[in-house]
């Protein structure tokens, strides 16, 4: 749908699969260029400790971005991932620290809250037919408010919840923090969901042509709800990981994360118009953002210039990526 008449040279030589693989490789190339640049610019950059830092910095936003990718695939948008994540953190805190439920129950509870947020988003979008922007904007505010109300505007600490901090901070794979491991596993799950399950297939189909999908006998409304619920599960996971990493639930946090998550998705090559999405792209998009920020900091570029630099690099990276793909956004 996004192919414009101008400059459609060289289109469609390969099937969708090949093209997308190619495109991801190229986005990956962009990431590599950034990596190489910083490695040359700073001797401290290519340290495992620093790379680990980048990966950790990617994890939470990255997990949110995975869910957002599914929603964006339908042509929707999810503005509630940031504060929704916070609400999941807070509820995990309520379950574990306040109510003293077992670890597993608390974590599943956190995920369930995410699913619930997704369910409400999905119902509002699919059955009330609200524009996703409105439905999830409203949810963003409601979740933000509820986080504060429920927590009494105070952080909830997990200090007494044995093992909770290890969820994100431990290293099941030596040298690799669990948060990063969780991110990667979640990415694989999201990838399989997108490309191998009905949820993903219908997400793409709805994003490609909602009316035609409905006419083809797919229960579009039901599947939209499913898609938002699945996205909500990722929000829940992000909330749990966040809480574990901070060993506390911070009710005031979250606003602004949604934009970062969506940016990661779009930089990765997923179209906001729906129909086209790539999880690998999203992972790379999230890594590009985190790497840029880290690299500029390592180079001690003054904060105000960092913003300018990130903006310019994003334009360059996405443009270069598109050039190679034959200007087909």
């Amino acid at each position: 749908m996004t192919t414009t008449i101008l400059g459609r040279a060289g289109q469609g030589k390969n099937g969708l699969g090949n093209r997308q693989q190619l495109q991801q490789l190229l986005a990956f190339a962009g990431l590599v260029v950034i990596f190489v640049f910083f490695s040359v610019a700073s001797p401290y950059f290519l340290d495992w400790a620093n790379v680990k830092g980048i990966l950790l910095a990617t994890a939470v936003t990255g997990i949110m971005a995975l869910g957002a990718t599914l929603v964006i695939a339908t042509g929707g948008i999810d503005l509630s991932v940031g504060t929704g994540m916070t609400l999941c953190s807070v509820m995990t805190g309520v379950f574990l620290a306040n109510l003293g439920l077992p670890l597993v129950v608390g974590v599943l509870g956190g995920l369930a809250i995410g699913a619930l947020i997704g369910l409400l988003n999905g119902l509002n979008v699919a059955y009330l037919r609200l524009p996703p922007f409105i439905a999830t904007l409203a949810m963003m505010m409601v979740a933000q408010g509820l986080s504060l109300v429920i927590s009494g505007t105070k952080p909830i600490y997990f200090s007494d919840v044995a093992g909770f901090g290890q969820l994100a901070g431990g290293e099941l794979v030596p040298g690799l923090p669990n948060a990063v491991l969780i991110f990667f596993v979640a990415a694989v799950l999201a990838g399989v969901t997108l490309s191998k399950t009905l949820t993903g297939r219908y997400a793409l189909s709805i994003g490609s042509n909602e009316e035609a999908t409905a006419i083809s006998g797919v229960d579009v409304r039901r599947w939209k709800v499913v898609i938002y619920v699945v996205a909500g599960l990722f929000t829940g996971l992000a909330g749990v990981v966040m809480a574990s990493r901070l060993n506390s639930a911070q009710p005031g946090l979250g606003l602004g994360y949604e934009l970062e998550a969506i940016a990661a998705v779009v930089i990765g090559g997923t179209s906001l118009r729906g129909g086209k999405a790539t999880i690998l792209g999203t992972v790379i998009g999230a890594l590009i953002m985190a790497t840029l920020t880290n690299g500029l900091r390592i180079m001690s570029i003054p904060q105000e210039w960092q913003k300018v630099a990130v903006g310019i690099v994003i334009v360059l990276a996405v443009y270069a990526d598109m050039l190679r793909r034959g200007k087909e956004a």
């Binding site: 700073s42 401290y44 950059f45 340290d47 400790a49 620093n50 830092g53 950790l56 910095a57 939470v60 504060l148 109300v149 009494g152 505007t153 105070k154 952080p155 600490y157 200090s159 901070g169 923090p177 966040m242 990493r245 901070l246 060993n247 506390s248 911070q250 009710p251 005031g252 946090l253 606003l255 985190a290 920020t293 880290n294 900091r297 390592i298 180079m299 001690s300 904060q303 105000e304």
Partner: protein, 303 residues
């Protein structure tokens, strides 16, 4: 939540005096502590109090709108923590002309309008932090993780610190100052990058609760606990725990509860036409492992 005693009807409609507080924020524990102090005073002095503030300390215009709405409720007094010391002057002059006394808190305004100013001297407080940093580190490289680049408080917390080091500790070099909006995760990421770029870094100063906890997190995650001197600002459970666990050398705390309390008290005094001191210093304290449980310190720390 809400204004204590606001009960069912809208504040100001009852017969109790009504004091509207417009602060710089409301989600931070610091501001919640201010609010608590205000609520305490309200209960004690039998007045109604409302408390609100914008989400971040850059939202000057949002805060002005809040102030405007507060004035529209015809309160008996206004407490105001200005994000920008000049932008609100016309509105405060307006309040004064309507006979509504204004109490400035947290930071002052360049105007005669406020009856009094209840605040922390942030320059002095951060110089105190610098003094302890200098004593603990002796010499070498240190860095700062700031919470806000544009607000007066944010700037003074860096300025006071830097000035002190430059003037009194020639062997110490501040190699980097990065800002991360007081977000714990982002502060942790920033602190890590700084540590990475300066492997021989000896200390980091975080300018508010979120920044300080982020720095602690970064040191912990890099497995360098004990090697770096971390100095924080404000309190909150995470910070007091970090000090008890030896992850943080110490921190400056203000006395937000007193700040809130004194603000409301001064407001009531002004309503009653009583004389009020032009400046009320709500004070600040250095606390560390050694004095954290002293009663006078414990009283000003909040969770």
């Amino acid at each position: 939540s809400g204004g204590s005693g606001s009960g069912g009807g809208a504040p100001g409609t009852g017969d109790k005096p009504y004091v509207a507080l417009v602060s710089k924020g409301f989600q931070h524990q610091f501001w919640q502590a201010v609010k608590q102090g205000a609520d305490d005073a309200a209960a004690e002095l039998d007045v109604e109090v409302t408390f609100e503030g914008p989400e971040t300390e850059t939202e000057v215009e949002k805060q002005l709108t809040m102030l405007q709405t507060a004035l529209d409720k015809s309160p008996d007094a206004i407490g105001y923590a200005a994000l920008d010391s000049e932008a609100s002057i016309p509105m405060m002059t307006d309040a004064v002309s309507r006979g509504i006394p204004v109490i400035a808190f947290d930071s002052g305004v360049d105007s005669d309008a406020p009856v009094t100013t209840v605040s922390t001297d942030n320059l002095a407080a951060s110089a105190e932090a610098a003094k302890h940093m200098a004593e603990l580190v002796g010499s070498g490289k240190i860095a700062i993780v700031g919470h806000d680049q544009t607000s007066q408080t944010g700037q003074q917390r860096v300025e006071g610190f830097t000035q002190y080091i430059e003037e009194n500790a020639p062997d110490i070099e501040i190699v980097d100052t990065q800002y991360a909006a007081g977000d714990q995760l982002k502060s942790a990421d920033a602190a890590k990058a700084i540590m990475q770029a300066h492997p021989d870094l000896k200390g980091i100063y975080g300018t508010n609760e979120g920044s300080a906890i982020g720095v602690v997190k970064a040191v912990q995650e890099s497995g360098r606990s004990g090697e770096l001197t971390v100095i924080g600002f404000d309190s909150g459970t995470a910070q007091t725990d970090a000090i008890r666990d030896g992850l943080m050398a110490g921190a400056i705390t203000q006395d937000p509860i007193k700040m809130g309390y004194e603000t409301v008290k001064a407001a009531v005094a002004a309503i009653n036409g009583e004389e009020v001191e032009p400046v009320i210093d709500s004070g600040f304290y250095w606390y560390d492992e050694t004095n954290i449980d002293d009663p006078e310190i414990a009283a000003v720390l909040y969770e």
